[in-house]
């Protein structure tokens, strides 16, 4: 097949008119939920319920119900935290970094990816808070004047985490809301229901699609994108500091920040692909979320997958090059020790399978990409597991070596976090426009003045 790469494929396919785009996106909000919806929410709700029960038991008896104990003091709590924060990163990448890079194709998927960011960060936040044992005292994590005259330790990576994750959540939420304002205004004008009109009016703030507003709005969007970009990089960098600032062999390496960021984008894109495949099918958004979108996302998955693979190789190299016997022991133990099974699941899922995306046919085949995306998610979960558990289970003191096995409650809470995530995603698809109406209209064919020329 001959492709002229100078001509970009149209972002919106099927020559949809502006009103047709709006019609398509707004349809799920205006129709009653069907059977498919209830089945989906039934499944995710069940998973969520399992999680809630396990959390309740954990709160009642304490986190002794979990599998982490000496020497593996950081078990599923931290593994799942890093996993979910990573999932969130794709959303900000798509909405902010691709915006700065003027990638128009982002418009179709940005809203959804941003929503996933917010839900993923909610899931992530649960784990460290639960791991404290007394989540209702979480306010102690923030600096507040108290009768002890004591402040939190601002030099601790765990406090950096608190600031990074809460800033990330707030900024993502604001960014998301800013994008939603024009859509709320459009929905306000569309809806026939009185109650909905009031709700949309409140959230649209009285938006009038005025060009005097668009002027500042576009500027604000640019500024926010400009801040969200370093922010998203900083968040996973700081998450990696949780490990890298310690002196555990296998953690204390400078490659961790970039390695974690690449891994986060990798897993995040895989999750976006997984979920969008279903959303696109169920809500007939094939013209707005096209195969070209998936093609591009799969390329990102492959690229970041190779970065992660490079990091795995580099860990071996540095262990040898540093001449540090502890580092060497840990790295070799990772690949051939008691957790070799987890290590090799990680390597096959993250490095080997994404290589299939070199072939264009696979990049554009829904079943293949679904399989690979799920495998990547599994692989990335195991990556965090391998990093956390292998370094800890063989620490400096051989007398305290042990083997970490999660308990049922660990697994139940992990299942519950997936339940929470998908419940939120499913509710989102029925309550808010999953695609940015105004942004997609702006990139539809014939939406911009003709004499104004070309792409910019």
């Amino acid at each position: 097949m001959k492709i002229d790469y100078k001509i970009e494929p149209p972002v919106v396919e099927g020559r949809l008119s502006l009103s047709q785009i709006e019609e398509l996106v707004a349809k799920p909000l205006e129709t009653r939920p069907d059977k498919k919806f209830f089945i989906a929410i039934g499944i995710s709700g069940t998973a969520l319920l399992i999680g809630i029960i396990c959390v309740a038991i954990t709160l009642h008896y304490g986190i002794g119900m979990w599998g982490n104990n000496q020497p593996v003091g950081w078990g599923f709590g931290i593994v799942n935290f890093v996993f979910w924060v990573g999932i969130g990163h794709a959303g900000t990448l798509i909405s902010a970094i691709l915006f700065l890079l003027r990638q128009k194709w982002r418009t179709g998927i940005a809203r959804f990816a941003e929503a996933m960011t917010i839900f993923a960060v909610i899931c992530a936040g649960l784990f460290p808070i639960l791991h404290t044992g007394r989540p209702w005292l979480g306010g102690y994590l923030f600096p507040y004047p108290n009768q002890h005259g004591l402040w939190i330790n601002f030099t601790s990576p765990l406090i950096w985490d608190v600031f990074a994750v809460s800033t990330y959540f707030t900024v993502s939420l604001v960014f998301w809301y800013i994008g939603l304002i024009p859509d709320f205004a459009s929905l306000r004008e569309r809806t026939a229901s009185k109650v909905k009109k009031i709700i949309y009016s409140i959230f649209s703030l009285g938006w009038r699609h005025s060009n005097r507003n668009w002027l500042h709005y576009e500027k604000a969007y640019l500024l926010l994108a400009g801040f969200a970009t370093p922010l998203v990089l900083s968040v996973h960098t700081i998450v990696s500091f949780d490990f890298a600032v310690s002196i555990m062999p296998g953690w204390h390496t400078t490659i961790f920040p970039p390695y974690f960021v690449a891994g986060a984008i990798f897993s995040g894109f895989a999750m976006v692909v997984t979920v969008l495949i279903f959303v696109r099918k169920i809500f007939n958004l094939e013209h707005i979320i096209t195969l070209n979108h998936f093609d591009k996302m799969n390329k990102v998955i492959m690229a970041t997958g190779m970065m992660v693979g490079y990091a795995y190789a580099m860990e071996f190299f540095i262990a040898w090059y540093s001449g540090n016997p502890f580092e060497q022991f840990v790295i070799i133990n990772r690949a051939f020790g008691p957790y070799a099974w987890a290590y090799w699941i990680m390597v096959t899922c993250n490095v080997v399978f994404p290589q299939l995306f070199w072939i264009k046919k696979f990049r554009r085949s829904i079943p293949v990409m679904l399989a690979i995306a799920i495998l990547v998610n599994v692989g990335m979960w195991f990556e965090r597991f391998v990093i956390t558990v292998t370094s800890l289970h063989r620490d400096y003191l051989p007398s305290s070596w042990g083997y970490f096995t999660p308990t049922l409650y660990d697994i139940g809470i992990l299942v519950g976090s997936f339940g929470l995530f998908f419940t939120l995603v499913i509710l989102f698809t029925k309550t808010l426009p999953v695609v940015s109406i105004s942004e997609v209209k702006a990139v539809a064919g014939g939406a911009q003045p003709s004499h104004h020329g070309g792409n910019h």
Partner: protein
């Protein structure tokens, strides 16, 4: 109708982005200032057509971003270096690298929030659902796929007929006159509203009372007042005898308490020998301990001159032949075991101290029965000291 007769402006709808750009250019060129264009999405080139100046929003971002950075850094400096200085992980009180992550996050947080809030309130005057344009057919159309322009009545050049003609000429397919809406009034002293306020107040107080005084002391929020652990003297279900406190295993030797094999024997056949040399430090220690533990009965120079004034039978002098000829081990045995009415000092005086006391008693005895050679030695020493 829910509107006044006061005209807000005249609005016209166009079908294509090209037409609206053209219209905006022409209307601006005609000298109208109070105009606005409403489009479903930002149309490229519109800002130029309307001759709008670039947005100044960035200044808000800059100002608050910088203040966020300064505030975070200064606050951490104050809290970690001045208010409650503490060395953590060997870092200095002001450890700049460790402060950077939080400075960055606070900068981003303040910059973005101020940008958004500043834009919505300061630049847009939102929330404003009461704007004359809201709720008109015009806004309904531009929210979907039409492109509109509105010339406001507050413009100096406003003339309804002239403007309508101009817009027609530009190819507008619908022209609408927009009126100001009636002011909405919200009567405050309605019984319904007052009831609502009262109900909210009662509900809030009840919930607050419940949360602070009841909920916070229920399981699991019990502030660790109930703990699954044993405190001393508590009963335990785990052990057969029901005692929570456990006895050490048979034959356990506590640190520093090696058992003494001749306990209870008045005159053991065989005794230990002194493991300590009579060094200066050892004798100093022995003197200190002797004066504390032995001198009340035996006297400061072991002459048997008790300070107890008959409250306890006077011990014999330790300068007797019997005492002088005792082995070190025997002296040690008497301190450890006691002798007749003299009690054991094993629990007060450690093993090392007992041997030191023995050495000190030897010093006292030697001083009392000094030989000629000893005296000469002392004379020599004191002569050397005088020089």
């Amino acid at each position: 109708m829910n509107r006044t007769d006061k005209i807000f402006g005249i609005a016209a709808l166009f079908d294509t982005p090209d037409a609206i750009i053209n219209a905006a250019e022409k209307v601006t060129a005609a000298g109208y200032k109070k105009i606005d264009v409403n489009t479903p999405y930002p149309v490229h080139g519109m800002n130029k057509a309307m001759k709008l100046k670039p947005s100044k929003l960035g200044f808000i971002t800059l100002f608050f971003g910088l203040s966020g950075a300064a505030f975070a850094m200064l606050f951490m400096f104050w809290a970690m270096s001045l208010e409650y200085p503490m060395i953590i992980g060997g870092k200095p009180f002001f450890s700049l690298p460790a402060f950077i992550p939080i400075t960055f996050e606070v900068t981003v947080l303040l910059a973005t929030l101020s940008t958004v809030i500043g834009m919505l309130t300061f630049f847009f005057n939102y929330p404003n659902n009461n704007h004359p344009l809201n709720g008109t057919a015009y806004i309904k159309a531009v929210a979907v796929d039409k492109f509109g322009i509105c010339i406001e009545a507050s413009d100096n050049k406003f003339d309804k007929d002239v403007i309508e003609q101009l817009l027609h000429h530009l190819g507008a397919n619908e022209i609408e006159t927009i009126y100001y809406p009636k002011d909405e009034v919200y009567p405050i002293f309605q019984p319904k509203y007052l009831m609502f306020l009262a109900a909210t107040a009662i509900a809030t107080s009840l919930v607050t009372y419940f949360v602070l005084n009841k909920l916070m002391f229920m399981d699991p929020f019990n502030w660790m007042m109930v703990q699954d652990k044993l405190i001393p003297q508590e009963k335990s279900e785990v052990f057969e005898d029901g005692f929570g406190m456990r006895k050490p295993v048979e034959g356990t030797v506590a640190r520093g308490f090696i058992p003494y094999p001749f306990m209870g024997e008045p005159t053991p056949a065989d005794v230990l020998s002194n493991p300590f040399l009579p060094t200066r430090e050892n004798i100093e220690l022995g003197k200190k301990k002797y004066l504390i533990y032995c001198s009340p009965c035996h006297g400061n120079y072991a002459e048997g001159d008790s300070r107890l004034r008959g409250q306890f039978p006077n011990p014999p002098t330790l300068h007797s032949v019997r005492s002088r000829e005792m082995s070190d081990g025997m002296l040690y045995h008497i301190i450890t075991n006691g002798q007749n009415i003299m009690p054991s000092y094993a629990s007060q005086v450690t093993r090392e101290e007992r041997w030191a006391i023995v050495n000190y008693i030897r010093v006292l005895q030697r001083a009392k029965f000094a030989r000629e050679s000893d005296l000469q030695e002392i004379k020599k020493e004191s002569a050397a000291n005088v020089e």
